[in-house]
């Protein structure tokens, strides 16, 4: 029986998240975070943790909500709708890694703090000029004594400035594919590990370059098995694509609503501008672009939980499509707003820049289209 829609409790989660964030994460709060180095609205994250959001994927026995990718997507969509600052998605990726590949000791050490919204994570996988997959991981982790020594750089890691726990992908065996890739859980302040913050136009997010200078870690830092982290990384990247896609859906819907509201009140030539077909048709195209894209986000979430063989394809599709849709919609929204849309003071620019940075994170649309072409065997 085909049932392709949110279940009543998923819909309720979405409605309550929307109400909560409208109240607790207004544009004023987003702007308050601009001067913060780590960009984390601590109070908001404590409340989100109290609602259980940080543990959405974590089994109830381990203190989480015991829900799945659909609920995660719902939360990311609502956070995207308000352009929420902070490392929600990155922390979810690290939690997912610990759940699937973490040792009991790693889970005990980190899950309670991550779930409480007191500690955050970031996934450091990508390297300068490399592909956005396990094959692109070339940073060396050489065996030394009972552990490893990591040297190299992970540039522009999402949420690294806020991360208490970095999940670093490195190569413990030479090679080009997934094989030989190992994930390491490394705490902030670990000797030889430095995070350099980069000011970014998207003020709702933080990027940091993770520099590893002969950083020594023990075997107990390995997540998911030595040399066997590639498959786990692929899974995390698909989850990241879902998260950004859902965030983009929420942001695109919000920028569309802003344009629509404006078109209904703004008058020129003695008429509401929304009565001109030039504006009307633009808005219709935006709706025809954004609304159907919801199905792609839902499908990527559904496959992550229920149809694993289709997961990578659905994630690539969702990331490619929603990145394009969000950037296009934000741009059109700015145009409909005219001069005011181009100002710093008017909030729309927060979403516009978030759209474009999101487009480039975890692989841009062209990368994911190429992935899709390969998966479909062209």
């Amino acid at each position: 029986m085909i049932d392709f829609g949110l279940a009543p409790e998923q819909d309720a989660l979405q409605q309550s998240a929307r109400q909560f964030l409208a109240k607790e994460c207004p544009p004023l709060l987003v702007r308050d975070c601009i001067p913060l180095d780590d960009g984390v609205p601590r109070g908001l994250y404590r409340e989100m943790a109290a609602l259980g959001w940080m543990g959405v994927l974590v089994p109830e026995a381990q203190g989480g909500l015991g829900l799945g990718a659909i609920e995660l997507a719902v939360l990311c969509e609502e956070l995207g709708r308000v352009a929420a600052p902070g490392p929600f998605l990155s922390t979810q990726l690290v939690i997912a890694a610990l759940l699937r590949g973490g040792t009991a000791a790693q889970q005990r050490a980190w899950l309670p703090r991550l779930l409480a919204g007191e500690a955050f994570g970031a996934l450091a996988y990508h390297e300068e000029g490399a592909t956005h997959d396990a094959a692109g991981v070339q940073l060396r982790a050489a065996r030394a004594g009972g552990g490893f020594v990591l040297s190299g750089e992970k540039p522009l890691v999402l949420d690294a400035p806020a991360a208490d726990l970095l999940l670093v992908a490195a190569r413990t065996r030479a090679g080009r594919g997934e094989d030989g890739v190992t994930l390491f859980a490394i705490e902030r302040g670990h000797p030889g590990v430095h995070v350099k913050r980069h000011p970014c136009h998207d003020v709702t997010r933080r990027l940091g370059t993770v520099e590893l200078r002969r950083a020594r870690v023990g075997r107990d830092a390995v997540v998911g098995g030595e040399g066997r982290g590639g498959a786990l990384l692929a899974r995390l990247l698909d989850l990241a694509c879902l998260g950004i896609a859902a965030d983009s859906l929420g942001g695109a819907a919000r920028t569309l609503e802003m344009a629509l509201e404006y078109a209904k009140v703004r008058e020129q030539f003695g008429r509401k501008i929304g009565s001109f077909q030039a504006i009307k048709h633009l808005l219709a195209e935006m709706v025809a672009d954004v609304e159907p894209a919801r199905s792609l986000v839902w499908h990527a979430a559904y496959t992550a939980d229920r149809a694993v063989r289709e997961r990578a394809r659905a994630a690539a599709i969702a990331k490619a499509a929603l990145s394009d849709v969000y950037s296009r919609t934000a741009r059109r929204s700015v145009e409909i707003h005219g001069g005011i849309g181009f100002t710093w003071e008017f909030d729309l620019n927060l979403w516009f820049k978030r759209a474009h940075l999101g487009e480039s994170l975890f692989g841009d649309p062209a990368w994911h289209r190429e992935r899709l072409a390969t998966i479909d065997g062209y």
Partner: protein, 398 residues
């Protein structure tokens, strides 16, 4: 969320698949393009529709008493998906099955349903749509073809245009003006007209494709029995809107889009470009993937809208979004194929060197026709913006 077949649906799917494998005509006997007068082709298309009907795979959602299966939308979806998989030919009586049939089920009398529905299914009677006129395109309600009630007959005078299939259709569902003094939307009625009636002249118009696909239809004192009125006198606009809704859905069939796209991928694999297979070219790969994403969007949107229907939620503006996006997508799929093929793609069907039987330029151009027909893309955008988003209507000229 659940996209898996139940065991019963799975069994049904396998049954349909086996049946199609045994019955779908060989490729050489098929023609993707419906727009042709060739009587042998029409006879073959009617035979295929009848075979489908007799097997119980046509108009599955119609009530059993009118020849349908009373099947749920899930079963209809399975049949549609399996038709794509089997590359089954198109159905010639689509305007009857998807447009006038559902309209009669909701707005017709019992006598009308019993008289017309069975023959729609068996392809014994093919229908065409008499809506557009030379002066009434996007502004359909300004139509002028008149029907005057004289005793127990209407007498119809006027002209319709862009009437697809009129050259071989047996019946027309037609909008006529029955009250010239009422405001334009309120003086229209919906009539069923026998195309063999004296006074009807059909003049083929050759389409851009070179095929005589649509027509002008002239009415000169054509007598139509009063019982051929559907709905109330002067209330035809309500009935017509029901049909237009069905038309938007018909034109946005995801089945056809999926088949076109599958054909594009097959074609790209077989075609050498700049010394290597087209599918090895990064630009072509990007293009195919972008189209694949849009095809996937249409497929999943159909599931989402199906779910909304099953949950009893109104469809809203989905039909207009579907029509707008699907027709454009079909056109873009054709365009991609033609670009991959180069000049060879533009060879006519009659040339044995034309790839895939010369159908790519036909499909490409035909899709452009459908961006215009059934309510232009611009009209759909007005509907989305005004009915869907609540934006103010265009001010009327003073």
């Amino acid at each position: 969320m659940d996209l898996t077949d139940s065991p019963e649906d799975r069994a049904f799917r396998l049954k349909v698949r086996a049946w199609l494998k045994a019955h779908v005509p060989k490729r050489s006997e098929q023609d993707r393009s419906m727009e042709s007068m060739d009587p042998r082709r029409i006879a073959r298309a009617k035979a295929w529709q009848r075979t489908l009907y007799e097997a119980g795979y046509l108009a599955m959602g119609w009530p059993k008493e009118y020849g349908g299966q009373g099947a749920d939308v899930m079963r209809q979806t399975i049949v549609n998906e399996e038709m794509v998989r089997a590359r089954a030919p198109q159905i010639i009586g689509m305007m009857g099955i998807q447009m006038v049939g559902p309209t009669l089920i909701t707005h017709g009398t019992e006598e009308q349903r019993r008289r017309y529905l069975p023959k729609i299914l068996t392809a014994e009677e093919i229908w065409c749509q008499g809506y557009s006129e030379p002066g009434a395109g996007s502004d359909l309600a300004s139509l002028k073809t008149r029907a005057d009630l004289v005793g127990d007959h209407f007498v119809v005078n006027g002209q319709k245009i862009w009437t697809s299939n009129a050259q071989f259709a047996d019946w027309m569902f037609c909008l006529v003006r029955t009250d010239p003094h009422a405001p334009k939307h309120r003086g229209i009625s919906y009539l069923l007209i026998d195309m063999k009636s004296p006074g009807i002249t059909v003049r083929p118009l050759v389409q851009m494709t070179g095929d005589p696909g649509f027509n002008e239809v002239f009415f000169e004192d054509v007598k139509v029995p009063r019982e051929n009125l559907v709905g109330h006198l002067n209330d035809g606009w309500t009935v017509a809107n029901a049909t237009l809704f069905h038309e938007r859905n018909m034109l946005s069939s995801t089945t056809r889009t999926q088949m076109l796209f599958d054909g594009l991928v097959r074609r790209a694999r077989k075609t050498q470009r700049n010394g290597k297979p087209a599918t090895a070219d990064p630009v072509v790969r990007q293009r195919l993937a972008e189209l694949a994403i849009q095809v996937e969007t249409r497929r999943l949107e159909a599931y989402r809208q199906l779910t909304e229907t099953l949950r009893g939620h109104p469809a809203g503006i989905a039909a207009s979004v579907n029509k707008l996006t699907t027709c454009e997508l079909n056109h873009q799929i054709g365009r991609a194929a033609l670009e991959i093929l180069g000049p060879r793609g533009w060879l006519q069907k009659s040339d044995p060197d034309a790839p895939d039987g010369g159908l790519w330029p036909i499909d490409f151009m035909f899709a452009l026709g459908l961006i215009i027909g059934g309510g232009t893309a611009q009209v759909q955008k007005n509907i989305i913006a005004e009915r869907g988003l609540g934006l103010p209507k265009e001010p009327r000229p003073a």
